[in-house]
């Protein structure tokens, strides 16, 4: 089996046993124990899966978040939304295919949907730059967000990126400035905005489309200031400390909810989103619609004030009590 994660192996082994048993079912046709044996293995698979997924480590979640078969932005856009009409380009330099966006409907509601997009295979990954956007991506996102503001379309952003691209062209065209401007401008958008971390929430490259009224996260996604690998090599001077770094950084959905840094966790099917796209997409769609309807009921002025207050409140400090 391709793309098998280390901790998924016990399940895969059982699955293989089951498959073998079934492929030999002809020989067992008259065996009274056959049906029972199958049921037994199926139960074992369920139990094992439940056990493994009940105690995933942060690093295992990062691996799930990066799973190459996980639903990507366009999978959600095509299937949780309808009538997607893609819009291209930043009107300045290029069309960054690592950032997609356009008009769509969500259960009939008109919206602007924007997301970072990874590739499914090598060829697509090259076109999508592995989901790491250049400045053009952030500027295209901002162009679409401003258009959404103009036409009163709520904005939904889907975040799935290891980070903004650390390249020569990206620096020459000021990727830091592109992200910074998005952070500032998203603060003032006069339409409801929702960000969902669907896979990897890689630092500033994720935040660059993430300053929204609601910030949601899929159960096995992560959102971090630095990649566990980067943190390991800086703090431990040792790449093999990645697992430790993943735990120390507190980047799982549960950690972030506990810290008040995300508003809600969107459940994934047992085994992770990659095992069942339909359920994951439906799960995201239901939660999105609920938040969107809530936000649309809030007067614009209040929504902007709440958005500011939400980000304003992030941080933990030690302040002496005033005398």
């Amino acid at each position: 089996m391709k793309h098998l994660l280390e901790f998924e192996k016990p399940i895969a082994d059982l699955q293989r046993k089951l498959d073998e048993l079934r492929s030999h079912s002809e020989d067992h046709k008259l065996d009274l124990n056959f049906e029972e044996e199958v049921r037994c293995i199926e139960t074992k698979i369920e139990e094992t899966r439940r056990q493994i997924y009940a105690q995933l480590t942060p690093w295992q979640r990062v691996q799930l978040a990066r799973h190459p078969k996980r639903p990507f932005s366009l999978d959600y856009i095509h299937r949780a939304f309808t009538d997607f009409s893609e819009l291209h380009g930043d009107r300045l330099f290029a069309d960054d295919r690592a950032m997609v966006g356009g008009f769509a409907r969500l259960g009939g509601r008109r919206v602007m949907v924007i997301g970072t997009q990874k590739g499914r295979d090598t060829k697509e990954n090259i076109a999508r730059n592995f989901g790491s956007a250049h400045p053009e991506g952030y500027r295209k996102a901002l162009r679409l967000m401003r258009m959404a503001d103009k036409f009163g379309l709520p904005i939904i952003t889907l975040i799935d990126t290891a980070g903004a691209y650390p390249g020569i062209g990206a620096e020459e065209r000021h990727i830091a400035e592109a992200i910074a401007v998005n952070l500032r401008e998203m603060t003032l958008l006069g339409v409801p905005t929702i960000a969902v971390v669907i896979g990897e929430g890689g630092s500033g490259g994720a935040l660059g489309i993430g300053v929204c009224d609601r910030v949601l996260i899929m159960e096995n996604a992560y959102y971090s200031v630095i990649s566990p690998e980067g943190c390991a090599s800086i703090l431990w001077k040792d790449r093999s400390a990645t697992e430790k770094a993943a735990a120390a950084l507190r980047i799982t959905a549960n950690d972030l909810l506990e810290f008040g840094l995300v508003d809600e966790i969107i459940p994934e099917p047992l085994g992770g989103a990659h095992t069942d796209h339909d359920t994951s997409i439906q799960s995201l769609r239901t939660v999105l619609i609920r938040h969107l309807d809530e936000l649309q009921a809030v007067p614009n002025e209040d929504r902007l004030r709440n958005r500011y207050a939400k980000f304003r409140a992030h941080g933990r400090i030690l302040e002496p009590v005033s005398a």
């Binding site: 650390p166 500033g204 950084l249 980047i251 972030l256 400090i317 005033s322």
Partner: protein
């Protein structure tokens, strides 16, 4: 006392606790007396001379100090502490520091090779600072301004909750008092030890600047060596004017990361102020010795003063 910050948008009204500052408005500490520092230096003769890393000239400490830590031979800008910067830019006796006592907490209980708490203690001792930024108000050639100056010597000028909070508060104060904001940056980026709390400081400070800009108030971002990553990808890039000291290293990703990722040779001068002036990011490169008059003229011009 640890408390999550619950302060609501200081758009129209910054809470009274902020201005006047809760802590007695002690004037910023005067320049250290030369006599005592001279004495100290006599005890440590090797401290008298500095070798310029660029032209290798030997420079006398006291001369360097009067030249604002700039090499007279080659114009190399040595690092400058936040306190020295404030003394340089702000008229004597007018600086009122805001929230000097905010300090960082190990909210993640970061389990690294050495604990965040011990790192904080060490840097507080060696730098005499509470964290990597000093904020306050003061006069710059009689223009009242809000000022934040980062100090690279405190954990590489990294931005955690305290840096983000102090900068946000000084911007909010500037918005409510309708005065310009100047931020002098020097930072390696977000502070890893505070995880996602650090990343969110980028959003928080940028959001505060959105409302400052909405009031049509000037914000001047001054970049000094080095300004990178999360700080560059937030307030440092949002100035009406973005100016830099000569030869400062400025960028988003570190050069080693870029080299490893792209497997390409970096162009000459990549990520220097001069390179970025040419590529259109900077409004100007201003020498340290000319910074105060440059800022004074610009603020006067923007405020319509003759």
């Amino acid at each position: 006392m640890v408390k999550p910050n619950k302060r609501l948008p200081g758009l129209e009204s910054t809470p009274a606790a902020v201005t006047p500052p809760r802590n007695a408005p002690a004037p910023f500490p005067a320049k250290p007396k030369l006599s005592s520092s001279r004495k100290r230096r006599r005890d440590i003769p090797e401290g008298l001379w500095n070798k310029c890393p660029k032209c290798e000239s030997m420079l006398y400490d006291k001369e360097l100090e009067t030249l604002l830590n700039v090499c007279p031979k080659c114009d190399h800008h040595f690092s400058f502490s936040a306190k020295e910067r404030i003394q340089q830019l702000i008229d004597a006796e007018t600086f009122v520091e805001t929230h000097p006592h905010l300090s960082s907490v190990d909210s993640l209980q970061f389990t690294g090779t050495s604990s965040y708490a011990s790192k904080l203690d060490k840097h507080k001792k060696t730098t005499g600072l509470h964290d990597a930024v000093i904020t306050g108000t003061g006069n710059l050639d009689k223009h009242k301004i809000a000022l934040a100056v980062m100090d690279f010597s405190f954990l590489g000028g990294s931005m955690g909750s305290v840096v983000g909070e102090k900068i946000t508060r000084i911007i909010e104060l500037a918005t409510s008092q309708k005065i310009p904001v100047l931020i002098v940056s020097s930072s390696g980026g977000a502070r890893m030890y505070e995880g996602m709390f650090s990343l969110m400081q980028m959003a928080k400070t940028s959001a505060a600047l959105a409302y400052h800009a909405q009031k049509k108030l000037p914000f001047i971002s001054i970049l000094t060596h080095p300004t990178t990553a999360g700080v560059m990808a937030s307030y440092a890039s949002l100035g009406d004017l973005i100016i830099s000291e000569p030869q400062a290293m400025i960028g988003f990703a570190g050069p080693r990361v870029i080299k490893d990722t792209t497997q390409a040779e970096l162009p000459p001068g990549f990520q220097t102020a001069e390179f970025l002036l040419e590529r259109g990011l900077l409004d100007a490169i201003v020498k340290r010795s000319e910074l105060k008059s440059y800022l004074s003229h610009t603020i006067g011009f923007l405020r319509g003063e003759s």
